[in-house]
Amino acid sequence: MRIIIYTLKRLLLLIPILLGISIITFAITHIIPGDPLYILLSPYAKEDDIQNARVELGLDKPLYVQYGIYLNDLVHGDLGYAYRTRKPVLDDIKQRFPATFELTTLSLFLAVIVGVPLGVQAAVHRDTWFDHLVRIVSVGGVSIPIFWTGVVLIYILYYKLKIAPPPMGRMGIMDTPPDTITGMYIMDSILTKNWVALKVSLKYIALPAITLSFAMLAPIMRITRNSMLEVLNSNFVRTARSLGLSKRTVIYNDALRNALLPVVTSIGQILGWSLGGEVLVEVVFSWPGLGYYAVNSILNTDYAPVQGFVLLTAMIYVLVNLAVDLLYTVIDPRITY
Amino acid sequence: MQTIPDKNSPDQIRNDALFLGKIPSSPHIEESISVPLLEIRDLTIHFIVHRRVTGPNVVVHAADKVSLFVKRGETLGLVGESGSGKTTVGRGALRLIEPTSGEVFLNGQNILKVHTRKLRDMRRKMQMVFQDPADSLNPRFTCRQTLVDALSHACYGSQDILRKALDLLESVGLNPSDLDKYPHQFSGGQQQRIAIARALAFTPELLILDEPTASLDVSVKTQVTQLLRELQKKFNLSFILISHDLSNVKYMTNRVAVMYLGQIIEIGNTSDIFSKPMHPYTRVLIDSVPVPDPDQKRKRASLIGEIPSATEPPAGCRFHTRCPIRFEICDQKEPHLAKLANGHMVACHLVNSSSE
């Protein structure tokens, strides 16, 4: 019961944050140097047309009124119109969201199932060659730019070894995607039992997912190792050992359960960090997700989609962090709220 | 910010003289001065731990209507279990914590009513020695820097500072070669000596000692205690000793106040309290101290349960939930401090009813 009240309280506290986010996204198009209309309309537009458009778009009104209009549109699900694709931004986003979601969740999943055990083993075998290897990989993972990893992987696996498909999106031109249910190809292929499509989509997603998860792996491994080391040195682990509990129990039951708490909190941060990496990976692999869409819009000076993209990612990020906080209160009995 | 030191002011001359040991200060309590050095009246300190939108806030009753006084040259002990509010009273007296209500007079002047600058001047007359000496010394200051910093706040001119610093070191039993060491290069006992030297830089009248020996080794504890007693005689200091170590309190103090859940439940001369404790809590407390004498196998009363939460202190007598001899009235009516002989006061219905 108390957790519901706590959740509601946290949701209420989100309102000012969301307003702040909307102010910043609103500012994106309104602090552009020069008149936004010259970007929207063609350079040869007549003065009258410009005036008409200005009134039509409400750009002649004071800023706070414009912000009010913007906010009102947002509440009604209107994110503006994308001139490049000639569609409402919301429709474009709906269409591209599954691709991004699929890539991100798969990468995070990979990073967690590889990173956490490696971090644990590194801490347990502290100062052995394995520990040093893990530390090198984790320092390397945060040092190597993600777009560079992608480029090198493409060169080796596609150009040299010819294992991977070309970095050209979610499927080749000749492949037929599965029937759309969720929009995520892997999920849809399984749901429609389309094994051919599943194989192809797995082949295409492998390289971008590995690239992205390599960047997520490093911080996960590092945090797991460090918090594990701390817990292994704690008094209650010493107690558990002094009572003759087996090493396995001590490591997995006492140490890991406590060591995972900081890992859980950091997953939200890692996700926020990787949303930036996501954009870069999508550009490198021409992955038709939100990031690729936003970057293409930027290059075509079409700003409404960028605005929509930034707003959406920020909101998702905020909600993920909220979810992590709630999860934390559930798994850590010490937290009272 | 600071007042310029006047070399010929009476205060300064007294300070200098005390430093150089020119004034022989009387070792016994000066009875002639009628106004106590420090007087605390009805000091109440509540902390809000949790604000609620609906209903009253959750409040810790750290100190409730605490009244006591300290005479010049004497040592008052403040004892009790953890959570009894003894440290809070010490800090409230220095106004390191802003009290909820009450009055604190130093030399007849209410410290709670003065403004910032005057407060700073008044604080210098009352210094504090903390429990954890490692924490109370700035880790980035050498011993020299610590003392110089204190002495410059005590308004010594730069000419005298080094000489004074060395005097201070000598009076707490450290060597001049220790001046350029950092706190982590000292042992706990030495760190506490530095902290005491820093407090002495102000030639204070009152030292509030917050568990000064609790974190020290057994064989070093008595050294520091002894040092404090010597300094008390030399500089005519008054002490408030906050401690849970009753043996030490017995050894060091002239009078003792026993606290339980934010209230004083018994106060009196040390000899009276230890030879004939009146409050059942005091009795158990003294009985609970382990004695290094295997031949003394006396049967002791031990206390059931633990100290209740200070957010919701029990109604009536706060001790009634654990009291071995409670009767009906105890959980209804709050006992007040009743006077016995020799300034001995007890808050217990059992004593009150027999004396009234």
């Binding site: 986010i21 | 220095l94 390191l96 604080r123 010394l137």
Partner: protein
């Protein structure tokens, strides 16, 4: 009288010796940890390259030679040439200069503003502190790189844009760190002792608090340098920030992406490699410094 006290007027060497003694453990740990020294070495090297770029670069980074297009690494062009026939090594050297200037300015700016905001929020709290923290919350509600993208879009391309944008997204990190350092230092006994001494608030902030909070800030500086390089290069990579033909690590990698599928790896790989090495240097240093600061290692 004075001669009795041998330490009356300490010599400058004595003062330095005493000061170094404070850090003997840190110095020992740095020496014991050769990886940290490697990081430091990389940083020194990269800085030297940045400073002496005009001397070190064998060619003009912008000179177009259509005859030499897309040549692989050779004795003449150690890192090959790009699609306009420009020497990649020279471009990488100039890019080092540009990126280091951007990262250093951005992080310094972020640190300066962040530390002040954090100190104000931490020490005074109250309404000002609350307002500062809520604004930081909003900035941190965005994934950092996405916010940088958004800001870069509205500010337009250019070196200054990247500096401002990267500084902007890093301010909250420094401010929060400073605030939490101050809050934890405030409860310490020596601060209370300073209050007892009648020290003023300003004295306590500048003499006691800040010197005790500054080391974690320095570690964060090293760490932030690596993020700043990454973010600046990534912005240029997606076409915001530094535009071609000016040499910049990220935009150079981007210019080479199209040639990967045809096997011309050197366009992207060398700028990316040099960049990764520079970032590694800062990460290693930050790592080593963090170990030094870890109080658990001290006992």
């Amino acid at each position: 009288m004075d001669q009795v006290y041998p330490l009356k007027r300490p010599s400058i060497w004595h003062v330095i010796k005493v000061f170094m003694r404070r850090y003997d453990f840190e110095i020992y740990l740095l020496r014991r940890n050769p990886v940290t020294l490697l990081g430091l070495g990389i940083i020194v090297l990269v800085t030297l390259i940045a400073i002496f770029a005009p001397i070190l670069a064998p060619y003009d980074p912008l000179a177009l030679t259509s005859a030499d297009r897309l040549m692989g690494p050779s004795a003449v062009h150690w890192m090959g040439t790009d699609d306009y026939g420009r020497d990649i090594l020279s471009r990488v050297i100039y890019a080092t200069r540009l990126d280091m200037v951007i990262a250093t300015s951005a992080v310094s700016m972020a640190m300066f503003i962040g530390v002040i905001l954090g100190a104000v929020a931490g020490f005074f709290g109250g309404i000002i502190g609350e307002v500062i923290m809520r604004i930081l919350d909003v900035i941190q509600a965005f994934p950092a790189f996405i916010l940088a993208m958004a800001l870069a879009v509205s500010l337009g391309s250019g070196k200054m844009t990247i500096i401002y944008v990267v500084a902007f997204i890093m301010v909250p990190i420094f401010a929060r760190l400073m605030r939490s350092e101050i809050l934890s230092a405030r409860g310490r006994g020596y601060i209370e002792a300073a209050h007892c001494m009648g020290a003023s608030e300003m004295e306590i902030i500048f003499k006691q608090l800040i010197p005790n909070c500054i080391t974690p800030i320095l570690v964060q500086f090293a760490l932030s340098m690596s993020y700043a390089i990454l973010d600046a290069a990534a912005l240029s990579f997606i076409g915001l920030g530094i535009r071609p033909p000016e040499a910049e690590w990220g935009s150079m990698v981007n210019a080479g992406v199209g040639y990967i599928t045809s096997g011309q790896l050197w366009l992207s790989v060398f700028p990316g490699l040099v960049m990764a090495i520079a970032i590694l240097g800062f990460n290693l240093l930050a790592d080593g410094m963090r170990d030094v600061l870890d109080p658990k290692l001290r006992s």
